[in-house]
């Protein structure tokens, strides 16, 4: 019996029958996450409902050196939850209980499969919410958020997942269960919680998450300003930041992105605008509304052709629904797309977008852009038709050139969607060999056998072909301080 067969047999014994999936068609439904261009049918899928269930699955794998991959809602955009053909996919979607709400101390404890939005809904009655708000918040799981250190439109003011996760219960790659962090913001000792957040499922599986909650702001004000092109919108953003205002969110959509949002939600964006800026302020009523007038004036001064102020909570919700549908609505413009995720200095926005447009027309493809303007996180969406021969490859190449362009412009390759398999090959562009080796050591400290989400984050020869070159031992290895993981 092969190692995977043994794992299958063991898990069929210890987990309930409906928690073990072996039918080939059913397995195929787990073959990809939100990055549907990469597909691998997993060897086995398990759907545990408890920490103990996850731990037994991991122990079964670890005992036989079988690789495993964690999956939350499968909305990741970098292939982080891409399964292993000879491995086990551990799906957390049935672990979705809210275990504890502590409104006085403003925190809650949840299982990893609880969706981001479900957390906020569960505490809304206490006038609290969970701040990080990825566009996928209706569906993405908090476990996935932890693994990707996800952020959203409001991370400009409120920060990313790591600023809101207090503690974690984690099943380590050997199957043992540990607590990282705690119930307070700054527990003593090494911040292993901080190491785990953003580790893209390579250090273990989070089975319980303690998050901190914020009070809902007293007032929120939102506007959409239309601009003739993204550069002028960029100037308005610089103006707002320079005035000392800290907006809760500043988002920019280019014309193609506007078209997709509008088709999906009818949120009232102007189809003829070259770019739209969504600006939101929140906080104490007086301050929020006072400064909002300033923002409006700055937009007009920078050349806004139309400014629409949300007149009601419903209208505000609709504006956000439109913005948050941007990626998911791309199916209306194109059957396939790659989302890229780069960070660029805000001031470089104009030239970078011009360069992207140039590269796109060279490749004969369309690129839509969504930009978290406040923190410089750019998401170009490269549209392609999977049925046209050669187009997916051209699109992939263009997507890679775009992220490299971001690096050249003084930025970095990933803001929030993670490295996964998608950008693993671009890692050497960002980090020196020494940097990568140190990261690999951290990983090896948690997962010496290399069975926890292997093939992700770090470039591998299989994934990247000739790009990364032959293996050369690291100086630390030569010195006998570290071994290869």
């Amino acid at each position: 019996m092969g190692a995977l067969e043994e794992v299958k047999a063991e898990l069929a014994r210890v987990l309930p029958p409906d928690a073990v999936v072996t039918d080939p068609a059913e397995l195929a439904t787990y073959s990809c996450d939100g990055l549907a261009g990469y597909r691998t049918t997993p060897g086995l899928v398990v759907l545990p409902t408890s920490t103990e269930g996850v731990a037994s699955a991991v122990r079964a794998c670890s005992a036989r050196g079988v690789p495993f991959v964690a999956r939350g809602s499968g909305t990741g955009l970098s292939g982080g939850a891409l399964p292993h053909a000879e491995g086990v996919l551990i799906v957390l979607s049935r672990m979705r209980r809210i275990l504890e709400v502590d409104p006085v101390n403003q925190r809650m404890v949840v299982e990893p499969g609880v969706t981001n939005l479900a957390m906020s809904k569960a505490v809304a009655a206490h006038h609290l919410y969970y701040a990080p708000d990825p566009s996928s918040q209706v569906v993405c799981s908090v476990g996935g958020n932890v693994a990707e250190n996800s952020g959203g439109a409001h991370c400009l003011k409120y920060g990313f997942t790591t600023h809101h996760v207090l503690g974690l219960e984690v099943v380590l790659p050997d199957g043992s269960v540990v607590e990282l962090g705690g119930r307070t913001l700054d527990p003593p000792g090494y911040d292993l919680r901080g190491v785990f957040v953003g580790s893209e499922g390579t250090l273990g599986i989070a089975t319980r998450v303690t998050v901190r909650l914020l009070r809902l702001p007293e007032a929120v004000a939102t506007l959409v300003a239309d601009f003739p092109d993204p550069s002028t919108a960029g100037e308005a953003v610089s103006g707002i930041i320079a005035s000392g205002i800290v907006p809760a969110a500043v988002e920019m959509l280019d014309n193609l992105a506007i078209q997709a949002c509008e088709a999906a939600t009818g949120a009232g964006y102007s189809l003829d605008a070259g770019a739209a800026l969504v600006v939101e302020l929140d906080g104490p009523r007086e301050e929020c509304l006072g400064r909002f007038g300033e923002v409006e004036a700055i937009c007009r001064g920078a050349g806004a052709t139309r400014v629409r102020v949300a007149g009601s909570e419903d209208e505000r919700a609709l504006i956000w629904k439109g913005r948050k549908a941007a990626f998911a609505a791309m199916g209306r413009l194109s059957p396939g797309y790659f989302v890229q995720d780069g960070v660029i200095p805000r001031t470089a926005l104009g030239p970078v977008l011009a360069r992207i447009a140039h590269l796109a027309s060279e490749a004969g493809l369309r690129v839509a852009n969504v930009f978290h303007a406040g923190d410089g996180n750019l998401h170009p969406l490269v549209l392609y038709d999977p049925d046209r021969p050669g187009e997916p490859e051209r699109a992939e190449e263009l997507a890679t050139r775009i992220v490299e362009l971001c690096v050249d412009a003084g930025g970095s390759i990933t803001g929030e969607h993670g490295v996964g398999v998608d950008k693993a090959c671009s890692m050497p562009k960002m980090f020196s060999e020494d940097d990568l080796a140190v990261m690999a050591r951290v990983r090896a400290a948690f997962d010496p056998a290399g069975i926890c989400n292997p093939g992700k984050v770090f470039p591998t020869p299989r994934l990247c072909g000739e790009v990364i070159g032959p293996y050369r031992p690291h100086p630390l290895e030569l010195a006998g301080v570290a071994e290869r993981w």
Binding site: V21, D23, P24, A25, E26, A28, T29, Y30, S31, C32, D33, G34, A36, L47, S73, G74, T75, V91, S93, R94, R96, G113, T115, L117, S136, V138, V139, C140, A263, A264, T265, A325, F327, A328, A329, M330, G331, R332, P335, G336, Y337, P386, D387
Partner: protein
């Protein structure tokens, strides 16, 4: 519809499995799910939280995204239309909540409909299940037989037999190997509504006009379940439309509109019913074709696509489809004219999936209810399917039951006296799980009570 499929009559029997390379994979060439439509799904997962079956089981293959991927795999010939495939397609409620949630505008309705028709042709179900489905379709889509069933239900309730049998929970007495049947019979038994014999027996008027010049001339689709179990809803529909100045005609003979068969993939009989209804409404020169059953309305509005292959009907079918309106759409479009008397009641409005998700009709029924003074309408804050979904609660009793209980709990938590919903299937399902304490009405029954000056909803179900 797909541009890729062959035109021609619906095969009654399985078309030979298309050999590899014909481009349809496990499907045959007669309207397989459209590859282009499948490709429109970008796998974002936004539909997952909207899907009741994903909510129940938390697994990908019972989510819209997973089902679409299964269709894609079958189209590519990687998997067969085997028991596993069919189980996940059967488990879909067809509630179309995924379509409301999908930012990419994926036409899941077309995909599942095409897939189901293929399953019915190409997949052989087990003998028990086949017999059960045949039995259901021998009754439901035939107004005459539903009426017989309704009268039988009336007699059954009057005879005291119901109480006696319920006390002994007769469905439990069936032999063990008929487990699924037992569940299904329990569902069917629980669905029997109180029947008002007067309403069932009295035929609707053929044509009735208002005093003075009519504002609109409308034709009523009387439905089969509606006519059999909720004849009073049809009567109320006629009365409120006339009161609001419409001339109402009820073309005869009218059969089933085909909705239940469309949803179950019984394509040939669905098309037969659709053609007959197109014929029945021929030549009446109507402004609107009024439907008061959400499931029928969504199918009627889709007649153009349904009969697109039939040159003798395509044009007339899309003409009829273009005029089809839910009764609440018609009423909301007319400035209220008849005097509304107060109805003092606190009610919840339940969105029928085939009205909200399939037809996008959400505000109109609320608007109709808002025109009734004294009526307090409470939102349930959750528009999830009640588990009725056509014949779903009869073929997937466990899931239907869980969803039904969930909805009933929500209603009870809202502390209302009654629920209002615009679909007979939802009505039957909600009655079953709410029990007699919280009655269920159609919006037109509530409006009718107001127009007739009935101060409470107690008498709303009269004829």
């Amino acid at each position: 519809m797909t541009g890729m499929s062959e035109r021609g009559p619906v095969p009654e029997a399985p078309v030979a499995h298309s050999p590899a390379g014909t481009g349809h994979g496990a499907f045959d060439g007669h309207h397989p799910p459209s590859r282009r439509r499948v490709e429109e799904c970008v796998h974002c997962g936004f539909c997952l939280p909207a899907c009741p079956t994903y909510g129940l089981w938390g697994e990908e293959m019972d989510s819209p995204r997973g089902r679409i991927l299964l269709m894609k795999e079958a189209l590519e010939g990687h998997i067969a239309l085997d028991d596993v495939f069919v189980r996940h397609m059967d488990a879909c409620l067809g509630c179309m909540a995924c379509m409301s949630a999908c930012p990419s505008g994926v036409r899941y309705d077309e995909l599942i409909e095409a897939t189901r028709a293929q399953i019915e042709r190409l997949h052989r179900r087990g003998p028990l299940e086949r017999a059960y489905r045949e039995a259901l379709f021998a009754v439901f889509p035939h107004p005459g037989r539903v009426r017989v069933a309704a009268v039988a239900a009336w007699a059954y309730q009057r005879s005291g037999l119901a109480g006696a049998l319920h006390a002994r929970r007769w469905p439990d007495r069936l032999p063990g190997r008929m487990g699924r049947w037992r569940e299904a019979l329990r569902a069917l038994d629980g669905l029997m509504p109180p029947v008002s014999l007067g309403a069932v027996a009295r035929p609707l008027p053929r044509q009735v006009g208002p005093h003075g010049a009519p504002r609109r001339r409308v034709g009523l689709v009387a439905g089969c379940i509606q006519r059999g179990f909720f004849a009073q809803v049809n009567w109320a529909t006629v009365r409120v439309l006339v009161a609001e100045g419409c001339e109402v005609v009820v073309p005869r003979p009218q059969g089933c509109c085909g909705a239940l068969m469309v949803h179950a993939g019984r394509e040939a009989s669905a098309l037969r019913s659709a053609r007959a209804l197109v014929d029945a409404f021929e030549g009446w020169e109507l402004d609107d074709v009024v439907v008061n059953a959400a499931g029928c309305g969504s199918t009627l509005k889709d007649y153009g696509r349904l009969l697109a292959d039939d040159p003798g009907y395509a044009g007339r079918a899309s003409g009829l489809a273009g005029k089809a309106r839910d009764v609440t759409e018609v009423l909301a479009g007319l400035e209220p004219r008849a005097r509304r008397h107060p109805v003092r009641a606190r009610v919840a409005y339940h969105d029928a999936c085939h009205l909200s998700h399939a037809q996008g009709v959400r505000s109109q029924p609320r608007q109709v209810l808002a025109s009734v003074p004294g009526l307090e309408v409470v939102e349930l804050g959750d528009d999830q399917c009640c588990g009725s979904a056509g014949i779903y609660n009869l073929v997937q009793p466990e899931a239907g039951e869980e969803l039904g209980r969930h909805k009933a709990d929500l209603v009870r938590a809202a502390g209302v006296e009654a629920v209002v919903t615009a679909n007979p299937g939802c009505n039957l399902q909600l009655r079953r799980f709410l029990g007699p304490g919280v009655p269920v009405f159609h919006p037109v029954e509530v409006l009718d009570a107001s127009l007739r000056g009935r101060p409470s909803l107690a008498g709303a179900q009269g004829v």
